[in-house]
Structure formats: structure tokens, C-alpha cells
């Protein structure tokens, strides 16, 4: 027993030593919170008044008022149209841009401009892009479609490029060795490797566009957002509640549909499998870190 001093020494040592660097970071964080809260004049009094208001506010939201349902349905339809067309246009643009941005297939002088386009499209919120398009093409659904198409490019093209960069080049080389043209290399060497992932990104993009298409109306770019904003400004909180419930229902329906499409294309489900809700392979396709909208 005496020839094992190392064990007893380590068992006496604190297994969780104080980490001064992490403590320092926690203190810095706490100081920041106090400082920033003071900057925004948050006070207990204001919160108390707010909570009192909140009761009143929610009291007026219920029961939701669906009497003006025609306007509601019209707005939702327009949002849906914006989402579908923006996704179509955005994905159609994203495919070539994403291909150009992939560094393994394209030379640097092609990939850098394409990456720049993607970064520029990503950095602005769709609502800000919508403001610019409202000025360019006037109020209405067209501005919304173009704004969301730009947002789609920023997002889908980036994912496409990343997916293409992860492919195996052996197959590309094999197709090239047969003397295939560039388009054939893309069609038979690249596309089969990334198609299933692309479908996943497309359904995700449609989902994200659907969420945003209900918002761009706030700046006059069509869809239900305009109606929602107007109802807020007129303090029609019961109608606001009706609109919100409808939007959430629409988004959830979209999510369910997207799951089915992913099941068909990624897991190889047939229609019968979906109706039987069979979980073949039971793979959960989590598109991680894609939740940005």
C-alpha cells in the first residue's frame, strides 16, 4: 500500500478546482447585465405597471374574434403565395450561386464573388430587404416575394455550397474520366450525392419563408402581416388573437407537410408508409442549427 502515494495524493486534491478565468467571465457578465439594464431604464416600477397592463391586454385578446374571417383568409392566402413563389425563385437562384460558391469544384475567382453575394444576402433581415423592395416595386406581394427570395439565397445557397463541399470527389473524377461535359459531371457526379440534403434544405427554406411571409406585411410587402399590424394599431386585440392563432396553425401545418416531404425523399417512404405512419429506420432528420428565421 505504501508504494502508491500518487493515488492518495490525487484523491485528496479537490477534483473541481476553482477556475478563476471562468469566474472572472461570470463577474464580467453580471457587471454587463447591470450596466445594460441601467442603460435601458428598466425598473421594478415599470415592470409592475407592465404586468398590470398585461392582464388587461390578455383580457381583451380573449375570446378571439373570427367575424372578419374573409379578410383573414385573404391575407393568409397571399402569405402562402408569397412563401411558395419566394421559395421557388430563391431556390432557383440558390442552385447556381451555391454551386459557384463551392470551393472544391470552382476556382477562387468564381467562388469568392458568389460567397460575397451570399454574405450580403444573409446579413439583412428579410423585413429590411422588404423595405428596399417596397420602394423599388411598390406596395404589395411582389416586394415580399423578392425580399424573401433574397433571404432564401442567403440561406439556401450557403447550405448548398456547404453540402457540395462535403461530397466525395471520387465519383466526380470517375464521371470526368469518361469525358463527360461539365453539365454531365454536375448531373451524374455531384447531384446524386447531394440531392436528398438539398430537398431537406428546400423544405426548411419553405418553412422559414412561410414564417417570414406573415411578417413582411408590416412594411407593406403583402400578406397577413399588414392586417395584423393594422389590427394592433387599432387596438382590435381580439382580432389580433384570431390572426395569431391562424398564423400558428398555418405554420404548424407547413411543418407537418415538410416532415412528410423529407420522409419521402430522405427516408424513401412511399405514400402508403406515410398513411400508415410507419417509421422505417426511424431516422430523425434534425437539420441542426438551421432554425434561423
Amino acid at each position: 500500500m505504501t508504494d502508491r502515494p500518487a493515488v492518495s495524493a490525487s484523491s485528496n486534491a479537490n477534483p473541481f478546482p476553482a477556475n478563476w478565468r471562468s469566474r472572472g467571465l461570470w463577474i464580467a457578465l453580471a457587471v454587463y447585465v447591470v450596466y445594460a439594464s441601467a442603460q435601458m431604464d428598466v425598473s421594478a416600477e415599470r415592470v409592475a405597471v407592465g404586468l398590470h397592463n398585461a392582464g388587461h391586454f390578455f383580457g381583451r385578446m380573449f375570446p378571439p374574434n373570427f367575424t372578419r374571417w374573409e379578410l383573414l383568409v385573404k391575407g393568409l392566402e397571399e402569405s402562402l403565395e408569397i412563401a411558395v413563389l419566394a421559395s421557388t425563385l430563391g431556390i432557383a437562384l440558390s442552385l447556381p450561386i451555391g454551386l459557384c460558391a463551392s470551393r472544391n469544384l470552382m476556382p477562387a475567382w468564381v467562388s469568392w464573388p458568389a460567397r460575397l453575394i451570399i454574405v450580403a444576402a444573409r446579413s439583412f433581415h428579410p423585413v429590411i430587404v422588404a423595405i428596399v423592395f417596397v420602394k423599388a416595386v411598390g406596395f404589395g406581394a411582389l416586394a415580399g416575394i423578392l425580399a424573401l427570395a433574397v433571404a432564401s439565397v442567403g440561406f439556401a445557397a450557403k447550405l448548398f455550397a456547404e453540402a457540395i463541399e462535403e461530397i466525395s470527389l471520387k465519383q466526380v473524377e470517375a464521371v470526368r474520366a469518361t469525358g463527360a461535359s461539365f453539365m454531365s459531371v454536375i448531373g451524374y457526379g455531384v447531384l446524386p450525392q447531394v440531392f436528398a440534403r438539398f430537398i431537406g434544405f428546400c423544405t426548411y427554406q419553405l418553412d422559414s419563408n412561410l414564417r417570414n411571409s406573415t411578417m413582411v406585411g408590416i412594411v407593406g410587402a403583402g400578406g397577413i402581416g399588414g392586417t395584423l399590424f393594422a389590427a394592433f394599431q387599432r387596438f382590435d386585440y381580439d382580432y389580433v388573437c384570431a390572426i395569431l392563432i391562424s398564423i400558428i396553425a398555418l405554420i404548424m401545418a407547413g411543418e407537418v407537410l415538410a416532415t412528410y416531404v423529407r420522409a419521402i425523399f430522405i427516408d424513401g417512404f412511399s405514400l402508403a408508409d406515410i398513411f400508415r405512419r410507419r417509421e422505417r429506420g426511424a431516422t430523425v432528420h434534425r437539420v441542426q442549427h438551421l432554425e434561423d428565421d
Partner: protein, 276 residues
């Protein structure tokens, strides 16, 4: 994923077999999706209200917009933009921190290996889904209605919108933790809190901070627009510049947003590289 289905039931000579990647049922399913997508696009084009004159007019209007934006009014930056930009960053940061605080308990409840009660799991999932389904602008409208215009409403909007995102990913990270260390702590008689702090937390720590940083990056972007509905930050001055058609000011605000968003992304990439 790739399933080869031979055409014939009885084995033919190899040369005569037709190999297909998908079974007929799979092909029908895929075709149905393409068909439905086609119908949806056609229907949307048919019914959407687009005024063609506006579209033909667009290049001219764009050119007009750019000439109005030039020269960019950089002199306005120290006067109005800087304070609003700082406020935007405060909204994003405080909102993210508040969201983290609120999302941890919800994420714990949503993780099935920590909370064994299905009803509580479902309640947590419901909270997460509703937080995510409501856009941050709608949260902002709600909080402006409750607390009045200002940064407080913006911070709360960002926080409530982020709960769903952070809670969902945090809950999933907890569900993926290894059982070993937890069982070891259990065997040593560790109480519930010690199991969380010394069994789960070290395993999910990198994921947690990575989720937090990622959300902060998104929130910097989102907090820039909250001002359009009165929830503070740079969106407020953007809104007033737009309403007054001061396009040179709009230009400087857009440049400021662009720079901050890019910087945030650089910071996040750098810090993630350090902590992961």
C-alpha cells in the same frame, strides 16, 4: 436510401435485369410531391396580385433609390446612429441572456432522461413550439402593447422568441448525454443537483455555449428590425428616416447594421473556435 429493385420476380440473366434506384411505390410518392409542388407554384402565380407596371418600373426606381442614398450621410452616425446601435446590441445581448435563463428550466423539463413525466415533457414542448411559432416582430408588438415603446419591449421580445430555439437545442443536447457519469454519481449517492452540475453540465457545456453564441448572432440581426414596431434599437431611427424619405440617413443606418452583423458573425466564429 438506395434500394435496387429488380424488375422481374424470377431471376433473369444479369445482363437482362433492369436495375432501378427506387421501388415503384417510392417513385409514385416522389412524383406526387413534384406534382403538388408544381400545382402550388402554378396556383400561386395565377392568383398572386402583381401589378406588371410596377415590375417594369423597378430598375428605374432602384436607380432612383441609389441616387437618393448617395452620398451616404456619415455625419449622421455620431448624432443618432451610434446610440441606437449600442441599444440594439444591448437588446440582443440582454435578450439572449434572459432567454438562456428562462430556457434552461424548460429545456430540462423537455429532456426525457431528466424529467420522466410525459405530461411535463409535453408541456415543455408546447412552450418551446409556441415560442418559436410567434415571430419576434409579433412578440415585439405584444410587449410594446404591454410595456409601451422602448428597449424593454425589444429585450423581452428577443428573449421570448429565443426560448424555443435555445430550449429545444439544449433539451436535445441533454438527451444525448452519456449515462455513465450520471450512473457513477448516482452510485456515489449524489443528490439531484450534484448530478445535474457534475454529471450533465460538463457534458452539455460546449453545446450550451455554442447554442447561446449562435442565438446571439441571430438576435443581433433580429433586434435591428424590432424598432420598426417601436421596440427600440436602430430600427426606430430607421423607421423615422424612412418615413421622412431621408434616404442618405437610411443608407448610413443600413451600412451600420451590415457592419455590426458581419462583426457579430466574426466574433461568434472566433469564440466558437476557442471554446469548442
Amino acid at each position: 436510401m438506395t434500394e435496387a429493385a429488380t424488375q422481374a420476380e424470377t431471376p433473369l440473366p444479369v445482363a437482362q435485369r433492369i436495375w432501378r434506384r427506387f421501388t415503384p411505390a417510392q417513385r409514385v410518392a416522389r412524383f406526387t410531391v413534384f406534382l403538388l409542388v408544381g400545382i402550388a407554384i402554378a396556383a400561386a402565380i395565377q392568383t398572386v396580385e402583381i401589378i406588371p407596371e410596377f415590375l417594369t418600373d423597378a430598375p428605374e426606381q432602384m436607380a432612383d433609390l441609389l441616387t437618393r442614398m448617395w452620398p451616404i450621410d456619415f455625419a449622421y452616425y455620431p448624432q443618432g446612429v451610434h446610440a441606437a446601435l449600442t441599444e440594439t446590441i444591448h437588446i440582443a445581448s440582454l435578450g439572449t441572456l434572459l432567454a438562456l435563463v428562462m430556457a434552461i428550466p424548460v429545456g430540462l423539463l423537455a429532456a426525457r432522461n431528466i424529467c420522466p413525466f410525459t405530461s411535463l415533457n409535453l408541456l415543455a414542448k408546447f412552450i418551446l413550439v409556441s415560442s418559436r411559432s410567434v415571430n419576434s416582430l409579433v412578440w415585439a408588438l405584444l410587449f410594446v402593447g404591454i410595456f409601451g415603446p422602448g428597449a424593454l419591449a425589444g429585450t423581452l421580445a428577443i428573449a421570448f422568441r429565443s426560448i424555443g430555439f435555445v430550449g429545444k437545442l439544449f433539451g436535445e443536447a441533454i438527451e444525448e448525454t452519456a449515462r455513465g457519469p450520471i450512473e457513477a454519481l448516482d452510485a456515489a449517492g449524489a443528490p439531484w443537483l450534484s448530478r445535474l452540475a457534475f454529471g450533465y453540465w460538463p457534458q452539455v457545456k460546449p453545446a450550451f455555449w455554442s447554442i447561446a453564441l449562435f442565438r446571439w448572432d441571430i438576435n443581433v440581426r433580429e433586434s435591428a428590425v424590432l424598432g420598426l414596431v417601436g421596440a427600440g434599437g436602430i430600427g426606430m431611427i430607421l423607421d423615422s428616416a424612412l418615413n421622412l424619405f431621408q434616404w442618405e440617413r437610411v443608407a448610413v443606418i443600413l451600412v451600420a447594421i451590415f457592419v455590426v452583423v458581419i462583426l457579430a458573425e466574426v466574433v461568434v466564429t472566433f469564440v466558437r473556435g476557442r471554446i469548442l
